[in-house]
Structures are given as structure tokens and as C-alpha cells.
């Protein structure tokens, strides 16, 4: 096989991986601060995908333009979910949190099934079949836009946590819960805000994802699992880790498909997870727990 093939597959893998990373980022942010693993993460993404599909079908609004409003809707929903349902479970055993979020995920899947039926739905933008030819490289236009949007959104999120007072306060909560309470931070509000930011992330990722894949109600659980694999590989709670994990899984799937057999590409992604758990349990960029 020529070098061109490897190059094309590598670029496609990186672009898909960037969107995977953005999707997993929300999960990582929530766990890093609230210490709750959102097992309804993929299902929340499917809500965003359906919002994008409906907006496109009804008003021909491009998912990339609708990315911010959809993230806004998920932000509000995430804030309400945290304050109304998840907050009482923060101090309860982890299995209670797990059951609560799995139940929320199941409810989302079934409501979407009732509303939209089981058929796959897609967004056919004017550039759905476009690609750019740069020398030997042929880049899928939708994946390129999706990857670029993922990078921009991740940069905005990094900036928010690094340079804003609210972002600093949220990081303070993550670092020292008791200390944050002592200095007078409204921890409940900051937790809800964090969950809302995580939901907004997954909302944006969902809007972008409609450019790449069709949506069905049953899509959620498999993407919850994928997000989980990515953040565990990158390091639970680490934002750069989520992006790195996404790119790594995207590349692994792409090259496993090319060099071995495409039908077993998920197996290789899980293989990476097993190796990380064996040799670096805290994830590639995660902090070692003491």
C-alpha cells in the first residue's frame, strides 16, 4: 500500500478523533470536578444530535451554526439535572449515582424512540459530499469542519477554566472541596455550573457529530462507552487527556481497519484501554491518586 493511503487514513483518524475528544471532554470535566461519572453522557449527545437534525429539517439551519444554541439548551438542561436530580446523590454511594444516571440514560433513549422512531436520521448539508484534494491527500469536508470546530471549542473551554474567575473557582472546588466551602464559594452552584458546562460540551459535540454520522435513539449507549474508554485512556478529569484519548482512539480505529480487519477495529480501541489500565492506570495525562 502506498504512503498516500496511510496519510489519508491518518488524517481521517485524527479528525474523527478530535470530535471524539470533544464529546469525551464533557465527561472528563464533570468527573474532574463533581466526581460523578455521567453514564447518560452518550444519550445526552443524541438529544443534541436530534435537535440539530430537527433544526436542519425544519429551518435548514446548518449544525455548525446551531452549535452554540444547542450547547446553550444542553447547558440549561444540565444545570437543571444537576440541581434537581444529581446533587442529592453526590454524597451517596457510587452505585446509587451509577443507577441514577443509567436510569436517566434509559429514559432518554426511550423518549427519543417514542418521538422519532427507530430509523436513522441525518443532516444532508450542501457540503455533505464535498472533499478537498491537496496533492495526494483527500480530506472529507464535513470531517475537516467538525475537527476544526472541536479544536476551537476545546480552546475556549481551556481558556474559560484557566483565565476566568468562575473557571478558577470551579478548579478550586475540584482541588479542595472543604477549602472551597471555607472561603465562601457556592459549591452547589459551581457543581451545577460544571455539569452544565459538561452538558454544553456534549451538546456542541452532538451538533458537530451530525455532520459525520446518522443519529438513532440507540446511538447513546455505545457513545457513552466510547467516551468512557477515551477519558479513561486519556486520564479521568484531565481535559488535554480527553482530547489526546480521542485522537488516539480515532487513529487506532483507523489504522486497525486499514492494517488488520475493519470489522475488528473496536477491539483494538479496547486493547489500548486494557494496556493503559495495566501500565498507567491513571490514564496517559491523568494525575496519580494518592
Amino acid at each position: 500500500m502506498s504512503f498516500d493511503v496511510y496519510l489519508n487514513v491518518a488524517v481521517a483518524g485524527v479528525l474523527t478523533g478530535l470530535v471524539y475528544g470533544l464529546m469525551a471532554l464533557g465527561l472528563s470535566v464533570v468527573f474532574g470536578v463533581v466526581r460523578v461519572v455521567n453514564f447518560a453522557h452518550g444519550e445526552m449527545m443524541t438529544i443534541a444530535m436530534y435537535l440539530a437534525v430537527v433544526l436542519f429539517a425544519q429551518f435548514h439551519l446548518d449544525p455548525l451554526l446551531m452549535l452554540v444554541p444547542i450547547a446553550g439548551v444542553l447547558f440549561v438542561a444540565g444545570y437543571a439535572l444537576q440541581t434537581g436530580l444529581i446533587n442529592p446523590f453526590i454524597t451517596r454511594p457510587e452505585h446509587s449515582q451509577f443507577l441514577l444516571l443509567v436510569a436517566i440514560g434509559l429514559i432518554i433513549v426511550n423518549v427519543l424512540l417514542i418521538l422519532f422512531g427507530p430509523d436513522a436520521r441525518s443532516v444532508q448539508t450542501s457540503y455533505a459530499y464535498d472533499s478537498f484534494e491537496i496533492g495526494p491527500l483527500i480530506v472529507d469536508a464535513s470531517k475537516l469542519y467538525a475537527g476544526a470546530a472541536a479544536i476551537v471549542l476545546t480552546a475556549v473551554l481551556f481558556g474559560f477554566f484557566r483565565f476566568t474567575r468562575t473557571g478558577t473557582a470551579i478548579r478550586a472546588c475540584a482541588d479542595n472541596y472543604t477549602g472551597a466551602q471555607i472561603v465562601g464559594l457556592n459549591v452547589k452552584h459551581l457543581y451545577a455550573l460544571t455539569f452544565a458546562i459538561g452538558a454544553a460540551c456534549v451538546g456542541a459535540a452532538g451538533a458537530i457529530m451530525t455532520l459525520i454520522i446518522d443519529v438513532t435513539p440507540m446511538l447513546g449507549p455505545s457513545y457513552t462507552l466510547l467516551a468512557f474508554v477515551i477519558v479513561v485512556t486519556g486520564g479521568l478529569g484531565s481535559m488535554p487527556g480527553a482530547l489526546l484519548g480521542g485522537v488516539l482512539i480515532g487513529l487506532t480505529e483507523a489504522f486497525a481497519g486499514l492494517l488488520f480487519t475493519p470489522s475488528a477495529k473496536s477491539m483494538f480501541a479496547f486493547g489500548i484501554l486494557v494496556l493503559v489500565l495495566l501500565f498507567r492506570p491513571q490514564g496517559l495525562l491523568g494525575k496519580r491518586l494518592t
Binding site: N8, A128, A254
Partner: protein
């Protein structure tokens, strides 16, 4: 002679009422023998095969009126969704039988049909397979399982014969192909069969690469990149519906139009494929079990479908699902009873020559397989399905090679 006026007493009234009840009941006893046969129809109405399952349902929807016009008894249809899942298919088959189904029909997919066949055999309820090609299903010695659909080996043999016929007509042939197939029961059976069947036909092409993929995959960019890298003239495929659409999108994006796309399975001729992809759906050839457009019953089925589902092209899903119900109604009429064994015996003795599919008609061999079915070679053109081969069923000439995707406006 004195005429005594009739004054009925209680005993007379009771006797009269009993006689009247018996007289009224008699026709209903007769009617009970003609009561509709309860047929459980198992299809993948949701999940990744939902599009095809719902298309098969169209064949169910048009059946009652046509069966009535043929003078066959009515059927009561009991719908069940296999959710494109083998375990669910098994559970739904058991539930249908528990709920009173007297015969089962389904289930489009080989894995799901194999699971239902086990249940049907255990419970002693006849099962007529509409679509499923894995050869093993009718090799188990089952007494209650019947298949009016070709096996993978039959499909492959006919596909190669039809391909040679087309290559002769157009005076051209690919020298190399990449074989892409789904990795489910059907795809694997076809993959195994191709190595056994292809050498018998002296095909002009070689398979330069074989790529198996997940039928539920949501991204096939790597698969298409790999196929393109093989520099083959044409693509040989065994796919489903969603993956056929994904593959086409990737072919367009990766700017590769093979000389021909030759499918030996579903997907490429489906109505949803034609409607979703518009001009991009033109060109693929499907070598599949199909209807004979020249048969009388085909025209009736086509007219009924045009009425119930305007704009939908008649195709394999409707034809074989309808024929499964035709077999059920025909057997029920001859059996004169819904007794499972009588029904199974009647199905085994089926001899329907006024049918829809290509071939001499519907008969079953000792294994419960209709081994007389024939493929058709179909090409998508302008949103329609044209039959190119066999010659006896053809209504168009092939268009070769495929028009490049980039030049379709």
C-alpha cells in the same frame, strides 16, 4: 276434524329455542373451519435493519386483498419486531406462539431466521422464511421450516452466471475486484460460498482484496480507502441498507467511481437507497433474487404496492414477504385446518406456478427449500429498477461502465 290451536308450553319453547340456536350455530361451525389463519410475522422493524424490515412490511400490507382475489382464505397478521437482534427474534417467536400464532413468517435476516427456526421446530409450528440465505437453516433436518428464498450458494451461482451474461452483452468485463462484505451470518455465508462457487464459472476477474466490516458501522471511510488502495476495476459486495448508503457517500467523498458496483445482497436496490441518494444511486448492479416483471401476479402486486405505497419500486423485500404469505394461505386452504402438522404437510406439497419471483414457481424439496428460484440482474437508473438478466425476464439493456459520481450535477 278438530284443529287444536298451537299453544306452546315451556318445554316446547325450550325445544324451539334449542333448535333455533342449533340452526344459527351451524353456519358459525362451518365458518370456524374457514376462520382466518393466525400468522405471526417477524421482521426487524427497528434497529440497524429497520429500513428493510419496514420495507418487507409493505409486502404484508398488500397481501390480504391479493390473496382474497385469488380465492385464498384470510390471514390474521400478528406483527412482531425482532429489533435486528437474534435473541429478540427468538423471544418474539416464542411469544407469538404462546399468543396463538398458528404459523410464523420472517425474518429477513439469516441469524434471526435461524433462531426462529429452532423455536418453530421445538414448538412444532410451521415457519415460512421470507428472506434469509444462510444454507445451514434448511440443512438441520427440520420438519416445520420452509424457505422460499435461495441459499447463499444458489445466489452466488446465479450471480456469476448473470454477470457473465451481462459482460457478454456489453462486451467488457472487470479484470479485478475488491470483495467487501458484512460480517454477519449472511455475509459470512456468502464469503465462504464464494470460494467454492466462483471457480466453477471461469470468471474474467480476480478478487484482489476481501474486506469484512460491521453492518452496524457508522463510518466506513477506512474500508473504502482500503478498497480504493487495491486499485481494482470494480467492487463486489454483500451488504445491507445503511452500510450501502455509507459506502456510496464515501465513494463520492473519496472520489472513486469503480467501473461497476456489483452487489449480491440487499441495500443497493432498496427504495430508501434510491430516495436518499437521488442521482448518486444510479448505476449499481444487483445480482439478487427478484421478481419476474412479466408474470401476471407481479403486475397485480406492483399495482397494489403503487396504490398502498405510491412511488415505491417493487423489489425483493415485498416479493418474498408476499410470497411467504401466499404459501401460508395456499397451504391453509389445501390443509383445511390450522393443525400444525397438516399445515406443514400442505406446505411441503406446495405447487404454485402463478407466482411473482423469477423461476418456475414455488415448490419445496425434502429439506423444505425451494431450490428452483432464480436471481435477476438489476440496475438502478433514474430512480427505477430495471431487470437486465436473465434474458427471459429482462426489460432493459445494461449501462456500462458506471457514470462517474463527480459528473452527475
Amino acid at each position: 276434524m278438530l284443529r287444536v290451536p298451537f299453544k306452546p308450553n315451556r318445554r316446547d319453547l325450550l325445544a324451539g329455542t334449542a333448535a333455533a340456536a342449533a340452526a344459527l350455530a351451524a353456519p358459525s361451525v362451518l365458518r370456524a373451519e374457514q376462520a382466518p389463519l393466525k400468522v405471526g410475522v417477524l421482521l426487524p422493524r427497528s434497529g440497524f435493519e429497520a429500513g428493510i424490515g419496514q420495507d418487507c412490511q409493505r409486502g404484508v400490507d398488500v397481501a390480504p386483498a391479493i390473496l382474497k382475489s385469488l380465492g385464498l382464505p384470510a390471514l390474521t397478521i400478528m406483527d412482531a419486531d425482532t429489533e435486528s437482534n437474534v435473541d429478540t427474534a427468538r423471544a418474539r417467536a416464542e411469544k407469538l406462539i404462546n399468543d396463538g400464532a398458528q404459523l410464523l413468517v420472517g425474518a429477513f435476516d439469516s441469524g434471526q431466521s435461524a433462531a426462529i427456526a429452532q423455536v418453530a421446530e421445538q414448538k412444532g409450528i410451521p415457519f415460512v422464511i421470507n428472506i434469509a440465505a444462510a444454507p445451514d437453516i434448511t440443512e438441520q433436518g427440520y420438519k416445520f421450516v420452509f424457505r422460499n428464498f435461495p441459499t447463499a450458494g444458489m445466489i452466488l451461482g446465479d450471480a456469476f452466471a448473470n454477470q457473465l451474461e451481462l459482460f457478454g452483452i456489453v462486451g467488457a468485463a472487470p479484470k479485478s475486484v475488491v470483495f467487501m462484505h458484512v460480517n454477519d451470518t449472511f455475509g459470512t455465508a456468502m464469503s465462504k460460498g464464494i470460494n467454492a462457487v466462483m471457480p466453477k464459472f471461469n470468471m474474467p476477474y480476480k478478487i484482489v482484496d476481501e474486506i469484512a466490516y460491521d453492518p452496524a458501522a457508522r463510518d466506513l471511510s477506512v474500508e473504502v480507502a482500503k478498497a480504493k488502495a487495491a486499485n481494482a476495476d470494480a467492487l463486489l459486495l454483500v451488504s445491507r441498507l445503511n452500510d450501502a448508503m455509507l459506502l456510496t457517500r464515501e465513494l463520492v467523498k473519496q472520489r472513486w467511481t469503480p467501473q461497476a458496483i456489483m452487489s449480491m445482497g440487499p441495500g443497493w436496490y432498496e427504495d430508501q437507497y434510491l430516495k436518499t441518494l437521488g442521482k448518486l444511486s444510479d448505476g449499481p448492479l444487483s445480482f439478487v433474487p427478484f421478481q419476474d416483471p412479466n408474470k401476471k401476479l407481479t403486475k397485480a402486486l406492483e399495482a397494489a404496492l403503487a396504490k398502498s405505497s405510491p412511488g415505491v419500486n417493487l423489489s425483493t423485500n415485498h416479493v418474498y414477504t408476499f410470497e411467504a404469505l401466499l404459501i401460508a394461505a395456499d397451504a391453509y386452504k389445501r390443509a383445511g385446518s390450522a393443525d400444525p402438522k397438516a399445515l406443514a404437510d400442505a406446505i411441503r406439497a406446495t405447487n404454485i406456478t402463478d407466482n411473482v419471483s423469477i423461476g418456475p414457481g414455488i415448490q419445496f424439496n425434502a429439506k423444505g427449500q425451494n431450490d428452483k428460484l432464480k436471481n435477476g440482474a438489476i440496475q438502478n437508473r433514474g430512480g427505477k429498477l430495471l431487470t437486465l438478466a436473465p434474458k427471459a425476464a429482462a426489460n432493459a439493456k445494461p449501462e456500462w461502465p458506471m457514470k462517474p459520481y463527480q459528473n452527475r450535477g
